[in-house]
């Protein structure tokens, strides 16, 4: 764990307590069974907003606390442990796009509403099943946007979209010219298809040529924090199970074959934590450093590989019970994969890292 300030420790403890008390894994099971398009309970998101979490990375001038990405990462990690469903991550990323690329007027119009939790905003980039920000065909002519966006996280509930078009990022409000289609996915969260047919689009004209990449790097790092929380929880729960399950008159944790697997996974998670914390810290300390692309690629690729493995091992090491819907292991496995695919799978990110490194 990184060295935290006193305020950050308090924030983390508060998140831990809230998650334990108000949002245990059972809350997610109820939400999953409710099977809504939004994929989360707006009352829960209201509670998170009331605690100030929706404004952590938004400037004070716009109603946020400007408390930074490391701080938001702590909250996201804790919430991820019990798969707390909310648009917290999506909104922070969309808000970042607006604060990096938006005019004073655009910022004043939208950021306070995102900070207060009233407005849900989502970033819409990819147009197919694979992350490919270089292959965008969505077009804007005369302030009207045309195109289709696939698997937009939190798209079902969003009232505002930050949309990548061929010539930059645009703000598009949900309304005339926007059609949403729900996609029911394995993680029971929102991944909507959006069809824009002449909806009004307002360009984010600031932020320069690299705006989309920088926004995506924020998305990669924050998503990696979510995946770290899931990995940690999956590991802790598996370790606890191995320590109480008895077979052959021994607890499973006493078998060396399992000890070495767990020790290896533990090391993997610790390395992932370093990569994620380095990413969050980079967002706080040097938002415009050219190295951000590589740091983000490392964090997300690490988190992808770590959670991929941990989510499979969680099922395997729990044996038959891990395969049942009654048990929670399946939830982690099913949430892991959409997150892995979001904003770049590991081969995409390694390719990006190499390109940025000049090879």
């Amino acid at each position: 764990m990184a060295k935290l300030s006193e305020e950050q420790e308090m924030l983390r403890d508060m998140a831990q307590n809230w998650v334990r008390g108000e949002s245990p894994i059972g809350a997610w099971r109820k939400q999953r069974d409710a099977d809504t398009a939004a994929g989360y309970d707006s009352a829960v998101y209201g509670e998170m907003a009331a605690m100030g979490w929706t404004g952590i990375t938004i400037a004070e001038a716009h109603g946020g606390s400007d408390f930074g990405w490391m701080s938001l990462g702590l909250v996201v990690e804790e919430c991820a442990k019990t798969l707390t469903a909310s648009p917290l991550v999506a909104c922070a990323i969309a808000a970042r796009a607006i604060s990096l690329g938006g005019s004073d007027e655009q910022q004043a119009k939208y950021l306070p509403a995102i900070a207060s939790g009233e407005l849900v905003a989502a970033l819409a980039v990819d147009e197919g099943p694979r992350h490919d920000p270089a292959a965008i065909t969505t077009k804007v002519t005369g302030g009207k946007i045309t195109g289709t966006k696939a698997f937009v996280a939190e798209g079902d509930s969003a009232g505002l979209f930050v949309v990548a078009a061929a010539d930059g990022l645009y703000l598009v409000e949900n309304g005339a010219g926007v059609t949403k289609s729900r996609r029911q996915m394995v993680d029971h969260r929102s991944h909507a298809e959006l069809c824009f047919d002449g909806a009004a689009a307002d360009k984010l004209a600031g932020g320069g040529d690299g705006l989309l990449d920088r926004v995506l790097d924020h998305a990669r790092i924050l998503t990696a924090a979510e995946m770290l929380g899931m990995s940690q929880q999956a590991f802790d729960q598996t370790l606890e199970y191995l320590k109480q399950r008895v077979q052959f008159d021994r607890i499973l944790a006493s078998f060396q074959a399992l000890q070495h697997r767990m020790a290896d996974l533990f090391g993997d998670i610790e390395l992932t934590r370093s990569a994620v914390e380095a990413g969050l810290s980079a967002l706080d300390s040097m938002g415009d450093n050219g190295d951000l692309g590589q740091i983000a690629a490392i964090a997300k690729a690490r988190a992808n590989d770590c959670l991929h493995r941990m989510s499979r091992e969680m099922v395997q090491l729990h044996g038959g019970i891990g395969m049942t819907d009654e048990f929670d292991a399946g939830f982690y496995l099913k949430r892991a994969r959409p997150l892995e695919a979001a904003w770049g799978n590991s081969s995409f990110l390694r390719d990006r890292f190499a390109r940025l490194g000049g090879y």
């Binding site: 191995l242 020790a263 090391g267 380095a278 190499a354």
Partner: protein, 398 residues
């Protein structure tokens, strides 16, 4: 991470120290040594010595900056962590390598500072700070490798001294060492509790050293034989029977050092080498896509490892986390070596003689020698046991 809540000297004080360090290095560092890696010079034999190296060693030693954060009272630099980082940056800027190293600095010194008596510290630490004494490690024995506590080398109590008999092996740099810190058995009735930590002069009568030739062709390790060697009791660190505790602490320092957090970024650029060896595609990328992905993964893992080493250091230095660093650091070093010779193809498998550059031969020797890193200092398997038992609390069989 470093930006968060770390108490440090004021920026002005650090800037002033930076100027001081830069001026001092300019005045004392022999330009002939620019870019020369001296980090292993403490393990080199006499034939590798030069006047410049000696001058630089003496200057750094007298200043105490080879051991920058050790107390000044014992000859260290007395610098804060922040100042030591500035010094390191300035040394790197000048292309200057720290000539004060070896086992005295990396393992024995920190351990003696923690467990030694005041007399022992005053006797040994200043000479380590000046790299005047070479230390070697007397731990492993033919039948005590991973099961180190099985060691049999026996120190018999003779009142004011011990008589030591037995054999040690894998003694790194044993043929050049002046002194040896050794684990010996003072009580045959207890396993761990019967071990004591002794300091033995390598030129004492009855000490014999034989180099072992390794698969790399080098002989960095020795067998060391003790036959009726007299060692004064004042050379025992800690109490009788406390050797296992002290010895384990020292191993944590060893692991942290073997893991080589600071060296990961060093050396030749694999991507540039790969471009030169296998060519590039139309976009200027390495033509072999699989090789390119392997290089990217290794570099990403290397940076993750470096971030982890930094995190461990900030969270309180040497700890059980050193096992995780050792496992992963050595794995990465070996992977890097494998990748390097793979990129070079047959040209990366030369043994000696014509047709190979010095760097190519070096790559082969490092590749071979590097296989030792996952075996010595507590093998990867032993480290994995430590993580499972000590960190994760997974119990023994039964």
């Amino acid at each position: 991470m470093a930006s968060l809540a770390e108490p440090s000297p004021s920026a002005e004080a650090l800037d002033a120290f930076r100027v001081e360090a830069r001026d001092w290095i300019a005045a004392h560092f022999p330009p002939a040594l620019k870019g020369v890696d001296l980090s292993r010079s403490a393990l080199e034999g006499p034939s590798d010595k030069s006047a410049e190296k000696e001058a630089w060693r003496i200057a750094m030693g007298e200043k105490g900056w080879g051991t920058p954060t050790w107390p000044q009272r014992y000859g260290g630099g007395g610098l804060s962590d922040a100042e030591a980082r500035v010094l390191q940056q300035e040394l790197a800027r000048a292309g200057a390598s720290n000539p004060i190293g070896g086992m005295g600095v990396m393992m024995f010194g920190p351990t003696l500072l923690e467990f030694g008596s005041e007399e022992q510290k005053l006797e040994h630490i200043p000479r380590i700070c000046r790299a005047e004494v070479r230390w070697c490690q007397g731990y492993s024995e033919p039948n005590a490798g991973s099961d180190l506590a099985n060691l049999q080398c026996f120190a018999e109590d003779k009142g004011d001294h011990y008589i030591v008999n037995g054999q040690k092996t894998w003694t790194s740099g044993g043929q050049w060492a002046d002194k040896c810190f050794a684990l010996v058995r003072t009580d045959k009735s207890k396993k761990q509790g019967g071990i004591s930590f002794l300091l033995i002069d390598m030129d004492a009568p009855g000490v014999e050293v034989k180099p072992i030739k390794m698969i790399s062709g080098l002989s960095p390790f020795c067998e060391t034989f003790f036959t009726n060697v007299a060692v004064p009791k004042t050379n025992r660190v800690g109490d009788e029977g406390q050797g296992w505790t002290i010895g384990k602490r020292l191993l944590q320092h060893e692991r942290t050092n073997i893991s080589g957090g600071n060296r990961m970024g060093g050396g030749v650029s694999l991507s540039e080498l790969a471009k030169a060896c296998v060519g590039t595609d139309a976009e200027g990328r390495i033509a072999d896509g699989e090789l390119r992905a392997r290089i990217a993964k290794l570099e990403m893992d290397g940076r993750t490892f470096a971030a982890t080493a930094m995190r461990v250091a900030q969270e309180g230095g040497v700890s059980v986390a050193s096992s995780i660093l050792k496992i992963n650091g050595t794995k990465l070093m070996q992977e890097r070596s494998e990748l390097l010779i793979d990129i070079l193809g047959m040209q990366g498998l030369g043994w000696e003689g014509e047709g190979f550059t010095e760097e190519q031969i070096e790559a082969v020797r490092v590749w071979l020698f590097g296989k030792a890193t996952t075996i010595y200092g507590g093998s990867t398997e032993i480290q994995t046991n430590i993580v499972a038992k000590r960190i994760l609390g997974m119990p023994d069989m039964g």
